[in-house]
Amino acid sequence: MAVLVLVSLALLTVYFRESQGGGLHSLQSTGASVLHPFEVAANRVAQPFRDAASWFGGLSTTRDENRKLKAENQKLKAKLYRYDDLLRENADLRRMLHYAGGATVPQDYSALPTSILVQPPGQFDQRVVVGVGRNDGVTPNSPVVSPTGDLVGVTTTVGANSANVKLITDETSFVSIVDAKTGAAGILRHNDPGSSIIMDNVPKSEVVNTGDPLVTAGWRTGTLTSIFPRGIPVGRPIGVNQTDIYPYKQIQVQPLVDFGSLQSVQVLVKNSASK
């Protein structure tokens, strides 16, 4: 037993100290590739049961949800006409001003659709493993979005055929975001006492209203740029806290992605022309 404990401690120490390209990381990546087919097979076997559970779970709420979605669809259709017009106008103005912005979605990125192979393995992590990796062009810090384009997280460790994705609900996740309506900027981060996420560091003078769309800020300072391009939808504010002892507003955020039922994602890989 002592030998196994020592080996575990040695693995921990070496893994912790070496870089992403180190020997143990490479070995782990190879091991993950070997395990990949087993995970895919297990997922395929489990999928019908998951679908059945989801179908029965959804029965009770479907009718109400359908009515709400129809009403929302009508409103969105009307907004879309206006949006298309604004988009064209924005492109014209940018061209006239010779405006040079950062990378934008989806023009400067290719989306790699993939399934989630491994959900968070414990209650400690807000991370998942996806089925694309280095061989598909994925690098660490590639943004990850849902099938509908909403922000999910960012890749951390990348293996040959799989990658670990840190979700935006993870304790160590920080994302610069802005209120698309008012322009108020802040940091999206995990809320320490609970499992929710908040928009922090918003100056008290800024305005953030409940229900406003929050998107990634995609900042650029000299040669430094945010790993998230501007404009990826993140969530909506559901409550605003402001106290005298804290210099900023803290806004509770409802993410657009339902992380509990997320089965597939898209990893955004920068096109070589825009790098």
Binding site: Q119, P120, Q126, V129, S195
Partner: protein, 173 residues
């Protein structure tokens, strides 16, 4: 040898199911841990050395599949496999409540151990969330898994006949 391979195969299947299927299951905020229950079952039936070995192997498979810090799960599961194995070899053998008691205690200790280790390694360790919101549900779900998992593992790895002290020694005089 065959026994060891069988134990390894059982734990490997449990590890794959844990990371691919069971990690997706959330009931009342808690998560069942099939792998932990399987390691406990194998350790109870095969003793401390096998318990430590399967614990190490299980941790290695999980850490590899999830691309998490290598060695973290191995360390905890090795210690817990050994401890449960010792319990099985001594006071726990043939007691009906042994698997349930072991699973409850091991789930609690594994959670505490993982929190402490992650805190030391500066990885996310949401103690309040884990201890107050998910731990007891997790223990309950693991206890629900215990009977079927223990029954399957017991069928695949039938208990060995107990060898009492002095048995098999040549008669003197």
């Amino acid at each position: 040898m065959i026994d060891g391979l069988k134990a390894g195969a059982i734990v490997f299947v449990a590890a794959i199911l844990e990371v691919s299927v069971f990690s997706d299951v959330r009931i009342l905020g808690g998560m069942p841990d099939l792998l932990l229950v399987t390691v406990v079952a194998v350790a109870l039936l095969r003793g401390s050395v096998t318990g430590a070995c399967v614990g190490f192997f299980a941790g290695l498979v999980v850490d590899t599949a999830t691309l998490e810090t290598l060695g973290l799960s191995s360390l905890l599961l090795t210690l817990l496999g050994y401890w449960v194995g010792r319990y099985g070899e001594t006071t726990g053998r043939d007691r009906t409540h042994a698997p349930f008691l072991s699973v409850a205690v091991v789930t609690f200790l594994y959670t505490l151990g993982a929190l402490a280790l992650r805190f030391v390694l500066d990885e996310p360790a949401p103690a309040r969330h884990v201890l107050l919101e998910t731990l007891f549900q997790g223990i309950g779900l693991n206890l629900l898994l215990t009977w079927p998992v223990y029954a399957v593992v017991r069928r695949l790895l039938p208990p060995r006949p107990l060898v009492t002290r002095g048995e098999g020694a040549p008669a003197l005089g």
